[in-house]
């Protein structure tokens, strides 16, 4: 048998604070601090604990070529038992034709073929959530409760860094003229807001939902730049013009559409039903997908943003900025979605606090290839007074600046 190191082999050495379970079940909570080295697996997203001895074995093995186990053990550098232990926890790769090893080798080859940057792959795997449920659905949402939580946060961490920064080293300071900002476009930008209360009895007209999808995710133009390489024009900017974000709508209450989980085919502006659901089931999965932010489940439809990393990395191979650029594509789309909703007098929201691992499983996605990165929602808003809605007072930058002392 031959072995090699994992292709991506990032080790984190950290102090882990864990409860002593013997003490816990004796009625006392005592914490043990253990210093541990973990291999951060970019495939499973799990930590693989390593002893100092195992760490030294890995550090001496190449990843680009195979090493014969008999020869290695014959040199006395490592024992067969140590190799077996490392293989058993996938800290090493072997050429054995077992299903587990084949899967690991295939996944590593896929990661390389797709063009993942090492650090981005590890970050992607270790920020993937499954089964996370926050307390948003259980806690009180009154103005007072919200204020208390913020005060608690301030008690713990002090006040946040201020909204505004000024440069003490500025060479000069020139106040800009404030042009009128009240035309139709300005009003639309100002109307953008996050909505957390929807009319759950109303049906969203299909024409409005269709327009939301077309305006945000639809194709507005195309042009062939090279044989077989066609660039698309969409309403949002995209890193490298690749538009690697796919829309997966969860339809809850839209006239003329069955409730369920869909894929939006931008090529022909068509919805592909993947899973039929009852309204209750659809609201439940939106709540689960958004880690228990139950108010978002009141929306009439949601759109899961799924990033196709393989498409972006085709151009930006092992690129240090590529993962960030893909996430920003989702942000661009979200802003367009928000503005379109404001234009149609609809409520909208976006959240990145999602159980992306669970969404990927539900949609049958390989997380190395594609994964959910955010989720927009849209619906007929319930604008009645709601403490979850932000009602801002007008702000005049010149009036605020006038009250501030000039920079020395």
């Amino acid at each position: 048998m031959r072995i090699r190191r994992r292709r991506v082999c990032l080790i984190q050495i950290a102090d882990h604070c864990l409860p002593d379970l013997t003490e816990l079940f004796s009625g006392r909570l005592v914490l043990d601090t253990q210093t541990r080295a973990d291999l951060l697996c970019p495939i499973s997203g799990k930590r693989i604990a390593l002893s100092p001895r195992e760490l030294s074995v890995l550090a001496a093995l190449p990843a680009q070529e195979w090493t014969d186990v008999i020869g290695l053990c014959g040199e006395g550098r490592v024992t067969p038992e140590e190799i077996d232990a490392l293989l058993a926890k996938n800290a090493l790769v072997s050429d054995a034709e077992t299903p587990g090893m084949r899967n690991l080798r295939d996944a590593e080859a896929r990661l390389t073929r797709i063009g993942w940057h090492d650090l981005a792959a590890v970050y992607h795997a270790f920020t993937r959530w499954s089964g996370i449920e926050g307390d948003e659905g259980r806690r009180e949402h009154s103005e007072e409760a919200h204020r208390e939580r913020l005060v608690e946060q301030v008690d713990l961490h002090g006040t946040p860094p201020g909204h505004f920064t000024t440069r003490d080293d500025a060479l000069s300071r020139q106040r800009l003229p404030r042009a009128a900002f009240d035309d139709e476009f300005a009003q639309l930008l100002r109307a953008r807001r996050t909505t957390r209360a929807y009319d759950t009895q109303a049906m969203l007209p299909i024409a409005l939902f269709s327009q939301m999808l077309y305006a945000s995710f639809g194709v507005q133009g195309s042009r062939e730049f090279a044989p077989g390489l066609v660039a698309l024009k969409k309403t949002s900017a995209s890193g490298g013009g690749l538009h690697p974000l796919e829309a997966y709508p969860v339809v809850i209450r839209v006239e003329g559409l069955a409730t369920g989980l869909y894929h939006y085919s931008a090529a022909d502006h068509t919805l592909e039903l993947l899973e039929a659901l009852s309204e209750t089931e659809a609201r439940d999965i939106v709540s689960q997908f958004t880690i228990g932010q139950v108010y978002f489940a009141q929306a009439h439809a949601c759109v899961i943003h799924v990033a196709r990393f393989d498409r972006n990395y085709w151009k930006y191979r092992e690129h240090a900025k590529a993962y960030k650029a893909v996430l920003m594509d989702s942000a661009h789309l979200s802003q367009t979605f928000y503005l379109m909703a404001a234009h149609l007098k609809l409520g909208a929201f976006y959240t990145a606090a999602i159980n992306d691992g669970d969404i990927g499983l539900r949609l049958g996605l390989d997380p190395l290839v594609a994964a959910a990165v955010g989720l927009n929602g849209v619906g007929i808003a319930d604008w009645s007074a709601n403490p979850l809605h932000f009602e801002a007072e007008p702000y005049d930058p010149h009036a605020e600046l006038a009250s501030r002392p000039p920079v020395a």
Binding site: H16, P19, K46, G134, E136, R149, T194
Partner: protein, 79 residues
């Protein structure tokens, strides 16, 4: 394998869920294993397992908030 996140989930359930607490007291080894902990049954109290009160665990969880890596609840800043 036990992780800080699995430890946090175990403690949180022990702080909130009476049914889970009862199950943990009946089968401490099995419940510990569900969260990646290996517990030696021989080291448990002869008179049976005991747990800190829910309130005590909550207090400790709060104290440990800074030390245990966890998916914290979201503080909603409305926008």
């Amino acid at each position: 394998m036990a992780t800080q996140e699995s430890a946090r989930r175990l403690l949180q359930q022990l702080a909130e869920d009476d049914v889970f607490r009862a199950r943990a007291l009946l089968d401490p080894v099995g419940v510990s294993a569900e969260f990646g902990f290996t517990l030696d049954a021989a080291k448990l109290p002869v008179l049976g397992a005991r747990l800190p009160s829910k309130a005590d665990i909550v207090v400790d969880l709060e104290k440990l908030g800074e030390r245990l890596t966890a998916a914290q609840g979201i503080v909603v800043f409305k926008a």
